[in-house]
C-alpha cells in the first residue's frame, strides 16, 4: 500500500468508532507477525531439540531465530537504531524480547560452533559452550515470554489485553517446536524414530492451545468490552474470518489432526509427519496473523456517552 492509500485508509478509520488496528500485521507490519512466527518456532524447536538430542533441530532453531531477528528489524520504522531497544528492561516487553533474542542468538552460536565446526574453535562441554547453553536457554525463555506479554501490555486493544495471551504464545511456541522436529526428522532422519513420542506430544499441546484459545474467546465475549467483542466478531465472522477458518482451522488443525489420526493408526511415514509439521506451523502463522489483524482499538467515546446520559 502506498503512502496516499495509507492516508486515505487512516482518514476512513478515524471516522469509525471501533477502529481496526493496522500498524501491526498490515503492510510492513506483516514483518512483525513473520518475526513472531519464526522466533516462536525457534524457541520451541530449541527446547525440544535439546530434550531429544537433535542437532539438526538445534541448527534449524538457530536459523529460524536469525530469520525472526531480521524480520523484526525489517518491521521497524528506523531499523538502524535497533540497538536502542535494549534500554528499558524495567518496563518494556519489547526491550526484554530484544535482550532475549540477542542472548539466544549469541548463546546458540557459542553452543553450536563446536558441534558443527568440531576441532576448529572451542570444544563441546567447554566453558564457552556451557555459557552458550545457559545464555540460549535464558534467551529462549525471554523470547517466549515477550511475545505474549507485548500484546497483554497493549492497553489500547482490549482483545489482546488478556492474561491468557502469554500462555497462548508459549503453547504456540511449543507446538511449533514439535512441528519443526517433524520436518527435520524427515530431512535428516535421527538414529531413533521420534514419531511415537512427537505425535502424542503434538496432540497434547494442540489440545492445550485450543483450550486456551477457546477460553480467551469466551472471556472476550462474556467479560470483554465492545472493542473486544468486535474483535471476536471480526475473527469469527468478519474481516479476518477467511484467514482464521482456512489458515488456522483447516490447515492448522483439521489437516494435521487427520495426519495424526493416520499416524496413530499405523500408516505413517516421516514424509507424512513432515507434512503434519508444515501444516501445523502454517496454521500457527495464520492464528497469530488473524488475532493480530482482528485487533480493534478501544473506543474513546464509551465513557463520555455514559457521562451525558
Amino acid at each position: 500500500m502506498d503512502a496516499n492509500a495509507r492516508y486515505n485508509q487512516l482518514i476512513q478509520d478515524l471516522r469509525m468508532e471501533l477502529r481496526p488496528q493496522r500498524e501491526w500485521g498490515d503492510g510492513k507490519g506483516l514483518y512483525l507477525v513473520v518475526g513472531h512466527f519464526f522466533n516462536g518456532l525457534a524457541c520451541g524447536a530449541w527446547l525440544f531439540s535439546l530434550l531429544f538430542g537433535q542437532t539438526t533441530g538445534l541448527l534449524a532453531a538457530y536459523l529460524m531465530g536469525i530469520i525472526g531477528g531480521v524480520t523484526h528489524l525489517m518491521f521497524l520504522g528506523r531499523p538502524a537504531r535497533f540497538w536502542r531497544m535494549v534500554r528499558q528492561q524495567k518496563t518494556a516487553w519489547v526491550s526484554r524480547g530484544f535482550l532475549g533474542l540477542s542472548l539466544f542468538l549469541a548463546g546458540a552460536t557459542l553452543y553450536l560452533a563446536p558441534i558443527y565446526l568440531p576441532g576448529l574453535l572451542w570444544s563441546e562441554g567447554s566453558l564457552l559452550s556451557t555459557i552458550g547453553y545457559v545464555a540460549a536457554m535464558l534467551g529462549m525463555i525471554g523470547i517466549m515470554g515477550y511475545m505474549g506479554f507485548v500484546y497483554t501490555a497493549s492497553k489500547a486493544v482490549p482483545f489482546w489485553n488478556s492474561p491468557l495471551h502469554p500462555a497462548l504464545y508459549v503453547s504456540y511456541s511449543l507446538r511449533g517446536g514439535v512441528a519443526v522436529l517433524f520436518v527435520t526428522s524427515w530431512l535428516v532422519p535421527p538414529a531413533k524414530d521420534l514419531t511415537p513420542i512427537l505425535l502424542p506430544l503434538w496432540g497434547g499441546i494442540t489440545a492445550v492451545v485450543a483450550l486456551l484459545f477457546a477460553l480467551e474467546i469466551h472471556g472476550a465475549l462474556t467479560g470483554g468490552n465492545e472493542a473486544a467483542r468486535r474483535s471476536v466478531h471480526d475473527l469469527l465472522a468478519g474481516r479476518v474470518s477467511g484467514y482464521f477458518y482456512l489458515g488456522t482451522l483447516a490447515l492448522g488443525l483439521v489437516l494435521p489432526a487427520y495426519f495424526m489420526y493416520a499416524g496413530m493408526s499405523g500408516a505413517t511415514t516421516t514424509g507424512l509427519m513432515a507434512l503434519l509439521g508444515l501444516a501445523s506451523a502454517v496454521g500457527d502463522f495464520f492464528m497469530k496473523f488473524s488475532t493480530l489483524r482482528a485487533g480493534v482499538f478501544l473506543p474513546v467515546w464509551t465513557h463520555l456517552s455514559h457521562q451525558r446520559r
Binding site: Q21, G77, M85, Q88, S154, F297, V300, H303, S305
Partner: protein, 201 residues
C-alpha cells in the same frame, strides 16, 4: 507542577479551529493529528443529538505509552507532567500506539505534504524537524508554554472552550473548573490518570 487542560463540552461547537491551529503550529504532515474533533450521533429521528469531543494527548500521569517504549524515546517530564517523544531516539516499533488507549499517537509514514505539486514553503519550514517512520504526538506545545504562551489549540479556540493551567495548584482555573463543574477524564477506569479533563455538556 503538572500542566493540564480543561475542555468545556458545553462551549465546543466543533468548528475544528483547534485542529487547524495545531496543524498550523506544528506543520504536521497528512495523517498526523495532534488535536482532533470527534463527532458522534445519538438517538433516532426526531430526537437525535450530535456530540462533539475534541481530543489530544492526555499527558497521562501514568502513561502506558511510556512504559512500553523500549528505547526511552517516549518519556514524561516529571517537572511539568508533559509526555513527549524524542524523534532522534524513536525506532518506529509502534508499541506506544498499541498502548495508548486514546488513539492519540500517529506513525508518520504517510505523504509529507498536502498538495500534489510538492511541499509549500510553509510546510518545508514547519516540517523541517519532522522525521519519517517514527511516531508523533501532541507535546502540549511545550515550546510555546516555555515562552509563557498557551498551547495553540487553547489560544485559538473561538468559544474559549479550552483552559490550560497547573493541575497541582488547587487555586488555578483548571482545578477550580474541574471541582465546580464536575470535570471528568476519558476512561478513568484504566488508571492512566489523564491531565485533560472535560466539563459535561
Amino acid at each position: 507542577m503538572r500542566w493540564g487542560m480543561v475542555i468545556d463540552l458545553k462551549r465546543c461547537i466543533a468548528c475544528y479551529g483547534c485542529q487547524l491551529a495545531c496543524k498550523a503550529e506544528h506543520g504536521t504532515p497528512p495523517g498526523v493529528f495532534f488535536a482532533r474533533v470527534l463527532k458522534h450521533e445519538e438517538g433516532q429521528f426526531p430526537s437525535v443529538r450530535q456530540l462533539f469531543l475534541p481530543v489530544l494527548c492526555n499527558h497521562c500521569e501514568e502513561p502506558p505509552c511510556v512504559d512500553v517504549c523500549p528505547t526511552g524515546a517516549s518519556s514524561k517530564n516529571d517537572a511539568d507532567g508533559i509526555v513527549s517523544i524524542d524523534p532522534d531516539v524513536c525506532v518506529g516499533c509502534r508499541s506506544c500506539m498499541m498502548a495508548c488507549p486514546y488513539s492519540n499517537r500517529y506513525f508518520n509514514d504517510k505523504p509529507q505534504h498536502y498538495f500534489p505539486q510538492g511541499p509549500t514553503p510553509f510546510e518545508q519550514r514547519r516540517g523541517a524537524d519532522h522525521q519519517r517512520d517514527v511516531v508523533m504526538k501532541c507535546n502540549f506545545c511545550k515550546d510555546r508554554v516555555a515562552a509563557g504562551k498557551e498551547p495553540a489549540c487553547v489560544a485559538n479556540c473561538v468559544t474559549v472552550a479550552r483552559v490550560f493551567g497547573d493541575l497541582d495548584d488547587p487555586n488555578s482555573e483548571v482545578s477550580r473548573l474541574i471541582k465546580e463543574r464536575g470535570g471528568f477524564p476519558l476512561h478513568p477506569e484504566l488508571g492512566t490518570k489523564p491531565s485533560v479533563y472535560y466539563l459535561p455538556a
